[in-house]
Symmetry: C2
Subunit: 364 residues, 2 copies
Amino acid sequence: MPTHPQHLMLPGPTPLPPEVLTALGSPMINHRSEAFCELYRAVEAGAKWLCRTEQDVIMLAGSGTTGMEAALCNLFSPGDRVLAITQGSFSERFAQMATTFGLSCDTLAYDWGQAAEPAELESRLNEGDYRAVLMVHNETSTGILNPLPELARICRRYGALSIVDAISSLSSTPLEIDGWELDVTLTASQKGYYAPAGLCLMVLSERAWQMTETATLPRFSLDLRLARDYAHKAQTPWTPPLPVFYALREGFKLLQAEGLEQIQARHLQNMQMLRGGLSKMGFELFVNDERVASRCVTPAIPPEGIPADEIRRVMLEKYHTVLGAGLRKLSGKMLRVGHLGYQDLNTILGVLGCLELSLAELTS
Amino acid sequence: MPTHPQHLMLPGPTPLPPEVLTALGSPMINHRSEAFCELYRAVEAGAKWLCRTEQDVIMLAGSGTTGMEAALCNLFSPGDRVLAITQGSFSERFAQMATTFGLSCDTLAYDWGQAAEPAELESRLNEGDYRAVLMVHNETSTGILNPLPELARICRRYGALSIVDAISSLSSTPLEIDGWELDVTLTASQKGYYAPAGLCLMVLSERAWQMTETATLPRFSLDLRLARDYAHKAQTPWTPPLPVFYALREGFKLLQAEGLEQIQARHLQNMQMLRGGLSKMGFELFVNDERVASRCVTPAIPPEGIPADEIRRVMLEKYHTVLGAGLRKLSGKMLRVGHLGYQDLNTILGVLGCLELSLAELTS
């Protein structure tokens, strides 16, 4: 057993508050009982608050990927034309998934690390007749935050549904599901909600629910209409992962006590402090423009000659600090410092200090 | 907060040992780290031991239903002919799922509460050319235990794969995945493994893995070949529900300390004690023949004139004891006493005693 703290600086899973760790060890209950319904309603109320929505929040056992899949197989039929905005590992995965499920998926592809341009989306939607646009709000592999309100507005103008992977952004970043009239918005429990992985949360617009009526892709365990029927009874169709519900109930309590604006301000401040510190130390920020920089993860390229994965190794071994690695084509080229969820300036400054010590060690 | 114990007598979720409740509150870790790989390997080793298999145990986030769906969409193509043995709510659901995914699914249908007859399966396989037979080992809605080794043997003789929902049976009941050459066997973490819901576990035979190579039903988040690739690296493709892994590691430790034969003997003894007590009290056992009676749940019809759900209400309100209800067409007609997992003669005798008090109260 470690005799020192572990510092988990990832864009999910994030460290859990002690109140949540305690709640995770609550005894099992009957998921077809009033006791569970109360638990469900508490989590649902917290989720509606954090998701800024009056609509149903559907909760499915699984990961964020489960939610992406549920969006596709409930709304579409084989051959449906969709456009995917791609600019990193997770947005490309969404496009690949659409193709796997037999959709006719074109891409509006950007270099990794570039944000989407609303005008370019507009011209693509002008050219082609797309039923929907798949996009990520926060591309966790590159630390890009897309201009979601503008993109969603263009989707609506052209009659295409906006299907938004907000998996890593929803807890930390301004995002108005109802206000921006997003059609499908999805996130996952380990992404800053002070809960472990195991549940994805989804919100569908009325337009999106209507599409589920005619969509022919088969679905069973991910049937969103069935999940909504059960949600109205404060239950889930299949046996729910109780510890995640316990954690979310406790997590939403803590988050509500902090307040939505404060949460967003804290994430912004953490990001700015981290970006400033990394720059001063000679790291190159992968995303230059702060306006499109992620509020939950900051990828940084080390100073010339210092291998990113060596820094990650020293940070882990010597300073008990877990940093994310570069993904796929960025593997070995960067480190990704997560600052999502249960983090504050103290944790950010601690990481910056240890990065400075690590650089000194590796260049001495 | 309750100032008395809660007695959860369900066929899953089951009460969790204190060691597991403590483990559930372990801090989050990076699921792409050596720390997670160690956790994964410990759970995998426990699962292989309990599943009596040398083959890969695939672990997917979700419920048992997720595993049923993964079996279908990884092994089959639209139009494939399968035969489903049905005799209750969960086996009928499996058939319905197969139809939903476009399989040509016939049924060998039994009355609810009747076990499958191997000779009848043989004659159906003799008549029709089926790629696979879908079956449940333990039909949790009726408390029937099917003669699995005989059924599996007949499947092999006729070249049909055996797809076995062993969700509620695998932890408590003699079942030899390798020894009986089952093709797909699946279970779920909350079913007697001393863990909460959130993970399903699956074992595929070499024949089943071969079928995944040609099956054309689309799958992405449930892609078993991808999950196997990651399993060989001691990871999961998507973010795993860490608390379930923590619980399973601790749970398997406790189960291994008890020993497989002892676990099975304990479940058998609990079942026999419960059946004897219920009979003496005037309950009618829904499954008469002990040889095909479930080792984890015992449905019982109350003495004439006493509503089953009234008994469940008194048991809950007065004796803090949760009993299962009759499902679907059996709703209101029976109670189902779970005796799966963390139960012993003390808990069984406590329930019997409280049932006696409840009957007295309801007939006084």
